[in-house]
């Protein structure tokens, strides 16, 4: 079917986030998705570019065919027509065994190396904010082949260094010593890949796997490279910008609003 793109104003920022993320899925992949936008992205991709991909939810469902959008990964809706309804031990074991190709995750703050913090703001032992904590974010991110983060673009959320590394990026401490090394060195033979994209309300970022540094790939319609730079608190590599983020098509929007989230839970 011919692609008819929505014009600015015809879609909301979250629509573009979901659409851009959906396009990261390759058909046939096994994908872990968290609650919220990651779910929307994965469910949209199964209706568009990746109909044969498999969706795993952390709470213990595999390849569910939800006909009503789950409100969380523990929702009964995740189990509808699922291949497997088990529990955490099953899905985390499969993750560690190496069966997961891609994961969609979120975060409160991220740094230039893709380290993500969802635990605290400030000093861990005396924080100014206590966030929910890691959940499965670092497990999934350290054991899947590729991770796509979906975040809000704010200067305070895009830091040179995060206050606490909840989820590992491309430059991380190697325990027990704690020296900062490349992800490749820290994970050794168990290195499988890592953060591959960060999608925000303004842009799509990717990583140089050698330097471990984040760079700007595409900017969403209506924003400029400068807008993005003004909302990043480190020296962002803008030398590799490949253009504008492909906007949502009318069909993608129809699917999002009439099939994926018909009840308006995450897309009011």
């Amino acid at each position: 079917m011919e692609k008819i793109y929505a014009k600015q104003g015809e879609y909301k920022v979250n629509d573009l986030l979901a659409v851009a993320a959906a396009r990261e899925v390759t058909d046939g992949e096994v994908v872990f998705a968290g609650t919220g936008l990651p779910m929307l992205a994965m469910m949209l991709s199964q209706k568009t570019n990746a109909p044969n991909s498999f969706l795993i939810y952390e709470a213990g469902t595999i390849d569910g065919k939800s006909i009503h959008l789950p409100a969380s990964v523990g929702d009964a809706r995740c189990a509808y027509q699922a291949s497997i309804g088990s529990g955490l031990y099953d899905v985390f074991s499969q993750l560690q065994r190496g069966h997961v190709d891609l994961a969609f995750l979120g975060g409160a703050e991220i740094d230039q190396y893709g380290n993500v913090n969802t635990t605290i703001i400030g000093d861990y032992t005396k924080p100014s904010v206590r966030f929910p904590g890691s959940g499965g974010n670092p497990d999934i991110n350290s054991l899947a082949r590729r991770t796509v983060f979906m975040m809000v673009q704010e200067k305070r959320r895009f830091k040179k260094n995060v206050d606490y590394i909840t989820s590992p990026g491309w430059r991380i401490p190697k325990w027990p010593g704690g020296e900062i090394v490349s992800r490749q060195e820290a994970f050794g033979k168990k290195f499988r890949g890592g953060p591959s994209a960060v999608i925000t309300n303004m842009a799509v970022f990717r990583f140089n796997e050698e330097t471990g540094l984040m760079y700007l790939d595409t900017v969403h319609p209506g924003y400029t490279v400068e807008d993005v730079q003004n909302n990043v608190d480190f020296d962002l590599d803008v030398s590799r910008v490949s253009g504008q983020t492909e906007p949502p098509t009318l069909e993608e929007l129809r699917l999002l609003y009439h099939e994926v989230d018909a009840e308006g839970i995450f897309l009011p």
């Binding site: 523990g74 955490l88 560690q96 959940g135 499965g136």
Partner: protein, 323 residues
Amino acid sequence: MSKRMTIKEAVNLINDGDAITFSGFTIWRRPMAMVYEMIRQRKKNLHLIEVNSGTHGDMLIGAGAVKIWESCWIGHELFGKLGANLDRKVKAGEIITEDYSHQQMLLRMVAGAQGVPYMPTWASRGTDILNPKYDMLGKAGLRDGSNPKIPKEKAQWVEDPFFEEGTLIHVPAARPNICIAHVQQVGEDGTIRVWGQKFADEEAIKAADKVIVVAEEVVPEEYLRREPSQNLIPPYLVSAIVEQPYGAHPTGNFGCYEVDGNFLRDFYNRTKTQEGFDEWAEEWIFGVPDFDAYLEKLGFKRLQDLRANSAYKYSTRAKRGTR
């Protein structure tokens, strides 16, 4: 002798200072009827060891019942973006938190369930979760071996000698005194059946020394035993059986009822301050004599609208979004 008892009697089995874990996942299938009564009975100094937490945990923390919290997550999913009570108590230095990753917490429970002192894993290497500076039980001087529920190390690093794949993490067993589980069905003798996702219930129940099970309904053992493969736990692992329909409200229960999102949002919004929590607790816990009165206060229509459709296994009448 029968293991049947009331919620109040079951809560009497819990001692101040006990290490406790729970059934469920975030805002699903949490033993709320027990949690309300634990707060009503003013339980103190509890040591929560949870694969993940949620509304129940933040509530116990807000009530000042918790001294130590070991887990990976707390919040109310889309109905409350963090655990406001934990946030407040952490800032005030009124609680000790020990962070592990989700898979690490799960494997701690697996080790406990298997009767070994630890499990090896590759999960979450390269994070501050493993930063020795952030071993909070160690900093508090609680890893001296005097408390059998607190291991002497937060984690260990071990080389793989078999395939030379590198340095693994060993995480210590979780060995709670009690697991409080809310499930759909239990037999008169204690055979437990859980519908839908099992989350980490099997591991949490088997890791615990004692198990209190609250079920939507108590059914004949013979009925559950027609399909042994669908059952999760045998009778000899269960210490107490309580029948309490809607006992997981406001959290959701597969095949039984929906998460009560409005209730969670209200709890989250009102309990960001201690005064707010105390007012909320006065209204919903201390202001009612027991869980039956709590359900009456919620009213029939509200509970009926949450009731799951028997084919879908979730409610198709509860209003969830804007459309």
